[in-house]
Point group: C2
Chain length 401, copies 2
Amino acid sequence: MRSDPSRLSFEIVASDGDARRGLLNTAHGPVETPAFVPLATNGAVRGMSSREVAGFGYSMVLGNTYHLLVSPGPDRIAEAGGLHEFMSWDGALITDSGGFQVFSLAHGSVADEIKGTGRRVRGQAETLSIEEEGVRFRSYRDGSELMLSPEISMAVQAALGSDIALIFDECTPFNADRDYTARSTERTHRWLDRCLRWHDENGPASQAVYGIVQGGTWEDLRKESAEAVAAASIDGIAIGGTLGRDKDEMAEVLGMTVPVLPVETPKHLLGIGEVDDLMKGVALGLDTFDCAVPTRLARHGMAIAPSPETRFRIDLRKSRMSGDRRPMVEGCPCVACSDYDRDYINYVSRAEELTAVRLLVDHNLVYMERLMSGAREAISAGRFGRYAELVLSGSSPWEAS
Amino acid sequence: MRSDPSRLSFEIVASDGDARRGLLNTAHGPVETPAFVPLATNGAVRGMSSREVAGFGYSMVLGNTYHLLVSPGPDRIAEAGGLHEFMSWDGALITDSGGFQVFSLAHGSVADEIKGTGRRVRGQAETLSIEEEGVRFRSYRDGSELMLSPEISMAVQAALGSDIALIFDECTPFNADRDYTARSTERTHRWLDRCLRWHDENGPASQAVYGIVQGGTWEDLRKESAEAVAAASIDGIAIGGTLGRDKDEMAEVLGMTVPVLPVETPKHLLGIGEVDDLMKGVALGLDTFDCAVPTRLARHGMAIAPSPETRFRIDLRKSRMSGDRRPMVEGCPCVACSDYDRDYINYVSRAEELTAVRLLVDHNLVYMERLMSGAREAISAGRFGRYAELVLSGSSPWEAS
């Protein structure tokens, strides 16, 4: 562990079982944890101004290195004074390494995820080669050949000037076999060393670096990886790679990984953010979580809701929403639930009015922030178990608080 | 004139030449005039909540009868308690008659206008027949056959419960000949009578009705139409139909129409809302204006700006905006100009991020409201001529004030 408080410090202010409430002090201010971290993939949270995202109560967002490397490119963002300045975001920023995207393209699993709506894709996104040096891939914007390697990823993240950079790793898919996963995890560890070497010599003094635990779904590989990462000179730990085929397997993989990690280190769970997953992650002692779910659901007309039987989401486009005079979620303080009923949101969603996406992003982000602030309060009050139980059985965050 | 103050009264509070500042008292509160009226075509101002639109300073928006008839239909809106309730808008609402859209489809001129982004069009929108009784057309949503007539248009607008309804008229295209225009204008007058008859018997007591002056670009026809409308039992007058091929011809047509109308009647100019047109309309004594321009420009990456040489708009997608550290418009108080530079908006616009449209709609609506509040203040101060001159020569509304 490096734990250089000049760039990042983490203070556990309350514990409740393995769940803990903390304060992650970044170069751009403190982040109260456990926290959900909205995605600002292209330097913008879908449909929102940065001012609004801060107004919802968020103090950290995540920018995607892969997307920002492809366009507008690190030079242009550096010229703007870094990603904070570029996107007018005064809070904390975490950037991923781009590894997830280039490997997803190679493994063919989540290309849709990367391409977003698909409308931005002009060229054919593809990964050209995976070697020890790094990964060659084609820009989805203009077809040009680009490269990501440990050094390039760190250099891009340095140019972006994020408060927390993630090391460049191979994100193994859920269908990779043990042998592939073992070799890949070893390479991720070699890449971890290269990332840290580059960052020690060239990285911004105020930028913290998180290592990433890989190892697929194999207990010994996860443990080995957790130990390798924990032993390295890193400021925090992210858990990446496949977490299995379903939520049970995810719980299993997290259950074999988190306990091996040092308690006092801040821990981030990559790409996970459904309501039940957050409650389980917090219970295990994870601190921050990023996920495209709240904004992606909004694009598809869906609202996050205290509805365990439908994966904590309701589909506003369904015809049964027509004529429904209730707000999307009773008691939700967001503008959509305060001012409109399901009937209206059903109509504007089906009419593909921008206002629909806007209202749904608003709701989903307000809901997620309330879910996590409720968790923080519950941990302080020593009742996180009860809070999670209520949430998982269908209470809204404010009912459960 | 009917001038029933229980449903609408208009008070001229200051005059400056023909320009006047007024207070249009509707059943849903006063509207300070001259005023720009944003479009809420499908019951939503593009990308905005109604709360935000009110926050920009607007007290009236326009709903499109054609669109709302096609979907969600007047019954569903009536069940919601009317369009105000449906879209959570407490201010004044004006609805058009649907005439513009069905005739535009028939004349093939502005189908794109009607279809919006085109993404909502599932069936083939087309007008099937134009007869004395009314107009048959096909729904662009599901291809079903629908009808608009004077009575149906008024009944739909009654169900919507707008504060100001417009009579059902034929909107003649700019390429119609004199003979067609003369016959069409006479039919519009017969339809005016049918609209008023229906409204007298069935219309909501609190709903005002505006007549519409047609007559194409022919002085005698415009005059005849102006006199026919002014003589009818209406609460206000809208100027519709073609205003010619270009801005000079528009000035000419308005110059031959407005002076024939009674001074004390509130006057609305339909579908016109570019910066220079607004200044010219106000100078002639027009009071309210609606137009898709601010929201449509936003969709195409354009911001309204004090730039007469480029039609008062700047294109944020142009590559020369990349690296430009200036706000879109110096001194503009909108969130886009307060928090972001042209470089960022260039990037998010080209990346087709929803945030781009959002920021541009925000800017364009803030700009238009400042333009009109500046005009109101200038009229009170007896310096509207100077204000308009400054705006037309490239001052922003706040510089010109």
